[in-house]
Symmetry: C2
Subunit: 359 residues, 2 copies
């Protein structure tokens, strides 16, 4: 049977003051659709995987938020991590949990905080991906066709085409975030694709890959054989999870394994990783301004993003060029978009100066 | 006996979004002192005139706000205008009301929305002013020693000194708001003083001045002889007040009368007529920024005024030079200080676009 694992334990302060420690990005409704990024991710996958086989892996601190946002997810499908250990332990645990339910299970693993505009292409990509990985011992990653020379994403280089499977390729290499010159070369080459952190595999295949390439992590979770999907599972996880090495699935497995494939797709995708990225994927007025789910009376503003969490507030702005104006809860941020990488530092400064209530 | 009339019926949108139609500037606590400008004006005069002889003249729509802000003022001391007719009818009514209580009364008339930093100098100026006008049939205005070439104020030119009374002069002329070149000449001459709209006279003297120079207004109020300070007063006023010509006391009387004097004073005064004026009179940081009663974490900001009405909110700002950031209630204003004269238009636009709730 097909399963979905949505990873929704991420933290991140890049959308402060909208994102807060207790409510990071995946729980926010950036686009005013009425659904948070997590809820939209859940909704989107239901066409391919039924709700009873969608699992959420998150940090324990977000349990209440998850239950509030996705009451339709059965309690036993919420896997609460007692500690932050990046994606490799998360994926290894989920695979053990699922294989205990269904030894033949195949799994799509998805981030919870990305934007996907082309829903039908997404469904089609998942269906083709499932068929592909169910046919053998293959690890599949989705590679997004790049539309601009982004320096904020990792890239996947395609290798040999898979015979008889259009858009499926062996992976030649994974690369780190490039500089702008390299990103332009990547874009022009047509061989490089954005790494969106979406993976498909059989549960047995990813467990086997851990055995070969990251036995330390495998051992942690293999020790729990017999307890997965039983009442004993959480007690076991609470004890061993913190002992797992913190590592990403890319480093732990994908960059080492030989049976790694990429399915190249065009999903209208963005990781919405920053205010600037949000600005790029949102509808603009004629002067490049974005009003994110709020009412703005502007005059002589250009390339400025306005985001206001309170729907009853208005903004009147004049003479701003290239700014972010983000008003949420008890804080207002006004800064040049070019300085958005400072937001993390800003959040630390805010915490130090004004206290925990503001972060 | 000495009386005080505080005029507090003014409207004005220049401090939007802080000032609103239902709560104009005089009712706001701009400086976070815990007292509005009106309350501060009231507090300030009590040293010279006791509360039971302080009268408030305001528009009827502000009656509730007045009672809330100054519960210590007796109900019979609140004069509610049924219509807006500028300062001349207001002053003429107040004089008739007071002279009915006390034929020998002298009156100081004060605006309610100005800043006075030098309280003791203010008290001394009023005491000397009262003595001066009680000695004869004289109309006295306070002239503020200018400290910069302001183009936003009217000026009073001093004439001959009054013998034996330091700082008292005949008035040679009243002038309109000058351009910047003229304002510089005024400042250098030492003969010109800011017109702060503070006046002292005997009730009988100002009534006589109306008789001579603005008989149309005098006639409106003289017709009520016998009803002032009786239960019949308000009914009479409601009927006749709207028939009084709309005029300022300067045009109606001060610029025409021969017995007009100026007492030159240094009160640390500002009319706080705009965000820019507020910026000027408020304490600055080393980069010329003003944080008006709020918490701001700023980086690379210069000459910017931050005002936030909610004490539980913070602002994080970067890269602003010469801006006004004003956050109050359901609206946020961000605009260059140089465009503050557009605020009136902005408020109209806001009303048209978003409705009455925002103005």
């Amino acid at each position: 049977m097909r399963y979905c694992v949505i990873m929704c334990g991420g933290v991140g302060s890049r959308f402060w003051p909208f994102s807060r420690e207790e409510k990071p990005k995946q729980f926010l409704d950036f686009f005013g659709t009425g659904r948070s990024l997590l809820q939209a991710t859940f909704d989107r996958v239901l066409e391919v995987v039924p709700a009873e086989r969608v699992l959420l892996v998150t940090n324990r601190r977000y349990a209440a938020t998850i239950r509030e946002q996705l009451p339709e997810v059965p309690e036993e499908n919420i896997l609460l991590e007692p500690a932050r250990r990046n994606t490799a332990p998360c994926i290894c645990w989920a695979a053990h949990h699922i294989i205990a339910r269904d030894p033949e299970a195949s799994i799509v693993t998805l981030p919870s905080d990305h934007l996907v505009l082309k829903e039908r292409a997404f469904h089609e990509a998942l269906r083709r991906g499932f068929e592909f990985v169910e046919g053998g011992d293959r690890l599949l990653t989705l590679g997004i066709k790049p539309t601009s020379p982004q320096t904020g994403y990792g890239y996947i280089q395609q290798g040999a085409a898979v015979e008889g499977e259009a858009d499926f390729f062996k992976v030649k290499s994974f690369t780190e975030k490039p500089n702008i010159e390299l990103a332009k070369v990547f874009l022009e080459s047509g061989e490089f694709f954005w790494n969106a952190g979406m993976f498909l595999w059989k549960a047995s295949a990813i467990i086997e890959a851990f055995r070969r390439h990251d036995p330390a992590t495998l051992d942690v979770f293999a020790a729990g054989a017999g307890c997965y999907s039983t009442p004993a599972e959480m007690e076991f996880i609470d004890r061993v999870f913190p002992t797992a090495p913190s590592n990403s699935i890319d480093y732990a497995v994908m960059e080492k394994a030989r049976n790694v494939y990429v399915e190249t797709v065009d999903l209208g995708w963005s990781d919405v990783g920053s205010w600037k990225a949000l600005h790029e994927v949102s509808p603009h007025d004629g002067n490049g301004n974005v009003t994110q789910n709020c009412r703005v009376l502007q005059h002589d503003c250009h390339n400025t993003l306005f985001a206001v969490s309170d729907p009853d507030r208005i903004v009147v702005a004049s003479g701003l060029d290239g700014y972010i104006v983000a008003d949420a809860g008890n804080a207002l941020l006004i800064c040049p978009a070019s300085e958005e990488q400072r937001i993390r530092q800003v959040v630390n400064d805010v915490k130090e100066r004004f206290g925990e209530d503001f972060i």
